[in-house]
């Protein structure tokens, strides 16, 4: 266990910036989002929860898959260049790291791995940040996480007043440390961190009952619940786009005449275009089918697909929904039904 004084964080980030591309939470007007920083002062680590999750570091909202050039009777296809500079993702909450691990199961598959995701993921070092003040609408402990979830982080920072305790979890993380800024943590530091962890856990609301959720949903292929949800839902993409574990995407060509690019963009299962076919047939024509898809994918199909529910309890969809559709309440209702 190491520690770094908060006063030294600026210098630490400056050092990271010399060698790495650094993504950190940044306050942009009234929103907090992860983006590339160029100076240490941009990083804003005293945030509760970021407005947008950091999934875009690995799965950008719009990403070029390749570029093409068209000539008479010929075409050339050029994939993007390899990423040369390694990246550091700084100050991520345990829930968002957990979401990344879930996305790994989707994208880093043995057959047909998603090379774009895989490359960015492989070249990124994750510095997690303990959630000492979990927002009241979070429910990570209901879906297998904790506010101090270290899994998946290379380094993990815990706020201990004027310093961060640094849990060194991997070699990748260790190589970021240096002797001038990081010192060994004392027994008192460890004790304080333990106390913080216990306090944070205590702040969490009682976990939702989700153990039997998958089985329950198995019997809900036809259920009035979907219609009830759809009735209020606006069918925008807010929940999906804010969600750290929603990953659906669309692929389109952006053409410039003789050249262009194939781009993938985030997509959301609430949109009609998501499943609309050329013939005009839509296998999920109304909000009911789309809500069934959303819930089933997250809490039923995902269990087989990536071993766990595709929800990490970050609360962003609860916070962001303009009509207050609350996933916590849906889960409770499903279990009570």
């Amino acid at each position: 266990m190491k520690k770094i004084a908060k006063a030294d964080m600026g210098r630490f980030i400056a050092r990271l910036l010399e060698q790495y591309m650094v993504y950190a939470p940044v306050q942009v007007d009234d929103a907090i989002q992860f983006q590339e920083i160029t100076t240490p002062s941009e990083a804003y680590l005293d945030y509760q929860n970021s407005t947008k999750s950091p999934k875009g570091v690995f799965l950008p909202q719009s990403e070029v898959l390749f570029r093409y050039n068209k000539g008479p009777k010929q075409v050339t296809v050029t994939p993007p260049e390899e990423i040369k500079k390694e990246r550091v993702l700084l100050g991520v909450r345990g829930c968002d790291v957990r979401a990344t691990l879930l996305l790994d199961a989707i994208f880093n598959t043995p057959v047909n791995p998603d090379v774009y995701y895989e490359e960015k993921r492989g070249k990124t070092i994750i510095i997690g940040l303990a959630c000492s003040e979990p927002p009241s609408l979070c429910f990570c402990t209901s879906v297998g996480g904790t506010p101090f979830d270290r899994k998946g982080s290379d380094l993990f920072l815990i706020d201990i007043s004027d310093a961060y305790l640094v849990d060194v979890l991997t070699d990748k993380g260790e190589k970021l440390l240096d002797d001038t800024l990081f010192r060994d943590a004392t027994a008192a530091d460890l004790e304080l961190a333990r106390k913080r962890e216990a306090e944070a856990l205590e702040q969490m609301p009682p976990p939702l009952e989700v153990k039997q959720l998958k089985d329950k949903l198995d019997g809900m292929v036809e259920s009035p619940l979907w219609g009830t949800l759809a009735e209020r839902c606006l069918r925008c993409g807010i929940c999906a786009y804010l969600c750290p574990s929603c990953y659906c995407f669309d692929i389109v060509d952006e053409d410039y005449g003789s050249s262009g690019e194939r781009v993938r963009n985030w997509d959301a299962c609430m949109f009609s275009l998501y499943s609309l076919e050329t013939s005009g047939h839509n296998p999920r024509p109304t909000g009911s089918e789309r809500w069934r898809q959303r819930l089933m994918h997250k809490f039923n199909y995902a269990i087989g697909q990536c071993g766990d529910a595709l929800c990490v309890g970050c609360g962003r969809c609860v916070q962001g929904c303009p009509v207050n559709i609350d996933i916590r309440k849906i889960v409770t209702d499903v279990m009570a039904s």
Binding site: A31, K52, R232, L234, I238, N324
Partner: protein, 319 residues
């Protein structure tokens, strides 16, 4: 407020029990402080879900999309009613399909404003006689309700429902037209500053279409951004595509917007959107002497013209 809630429940129960309507669209207690949530009540036994308070910001006319032949009741404040009228003008449904339970609006609270003013997360909030009691971890605070009125509500000139079938509560005195501070402030800046502001705000857009879907007037079966033949703008978050998306969304509201603020309230990225539609509302007032949703006869300005009026024969480019 409690009295209003009681009255709304009574009326809703009566309408449902008498089978005058097959559903009542209203507000229920939200799961988050400072926010009430839309609810659709089908059963007279469920009317106790309905509430009325200063957190009823959503424009419920949005839920009249795809009404078909049904007859419904809707709890509607001034702006919701204007949307209903505008939708009737645009032939989305007929007046006799909606039973309007009109509520003169006390001006709604902007939860974002409150959240900004309070240090730390708000865990509970309650409204009591012009006071807003908010509870955060470790402390309670009393705020003046009137300091946290949504900026659009503060400038509202039509708080009373213009038409209704049932009126719940006493009509309020309407304020005169005043410039919307945010668009007035925007207009005072130089063109370069204005563009920089717009560009900067739009850089946060994630194209979730929350603004579109929250708006009662954005009812197109297929939105221009979703067209594939032709595909007008890129589907990506390429900056010009995002900028054009929002320009056209707002522009399509010219002479159709009722200033309810649903678009900006919905935005998860806290992007300022109201100066766009309010700028256009000012133009509609200035050029066509038009305000949306004041009667069921006047067509929106882009759907009509007046050959005798100067404004239609001379070009009005404001130069």
């Amino acid at each position: 407020m409690d009295k209003l809630t009681q009255k709304i429940r009574q009326e809703a129960a009566r309408l449902l029990a008498d089978h005058q309507v097959d559903r009542v669209i209203g507000f229920q207690e939200g799961t988050l402080p400072l926010r009430s949530a839309p609810v659709i009540v089908h059963d007279p036994a469920d009317v106790d879900k309905l509430v009325w308070n200063s957190f009823c910001g959503n424009n419920l006319a949005r839920y009249l999309r795809g009404l078909g032949g049904r007859r419904v009741a809707i709890v509607a404040k001034g702006c919701d009613v204007r949307s209903i009228i505008a939708l009737i003008v645009e032939k989305q449904f007929s007046r006799d399909q909606v039973v309007i339970i009109g509520v003169p609006c006390q001006r709604m609270i902007d939860w974002r404003k409150v959240a900004k003013a309070v240090n730390g997360e708000i865990l509970r909030a309650e409204e009591r006689d012009g006071e807003l009691l908010v509870e955060s971890k470790g402390f309670k605070r009393s705020l003046q309700r009137d300091d946290f009125i949504h900026s659009l509500c503060a400038a509202c000139t039509h708080r009373n429902p213009i038409v209704y079938d049932i009126l719940v509560g006493e009509p309020v005195e309407e304020a005169g037209q005043t410039p919307f501070p945010e668009s007035a402030a925007f207009e005072e800046r130089s063109p370069a500053e204005r563009w920089a502001f717009y560009k900067d705000e739009m850089s946060r857009c994630i194209r979730c279409y929350g603004c579109r879907e929250a708006c009662p007037m954005c009812y197109c079966e297929e939105c221009f951004v979703d067209h594939s033949q032709p595909s007008w703008i890129a589907k990506s978050v390429e900056p010009s595509a995002v900028q054009i998306w929002q320009i056209v969304r707002a522009y399509h509201q010219a002479g159709r917007c009722v200033s309810c603020g649903a678009c900006e309230r919905a935005c998860p990225m806290n992007i300022k959107l109201l100066y766009l539609t309010e700028g256009l509302n000012d133009l509609a007032r200035e050029m066509f002497d038009f305000e949306t949703g004041l009667n069921t006869e006047s067509l929106p300005p882009f759907a009509t013209f007046d050959p005798d009026a100067m404004r239609d024969t001379a070009k009005q480019d404001g130069r």
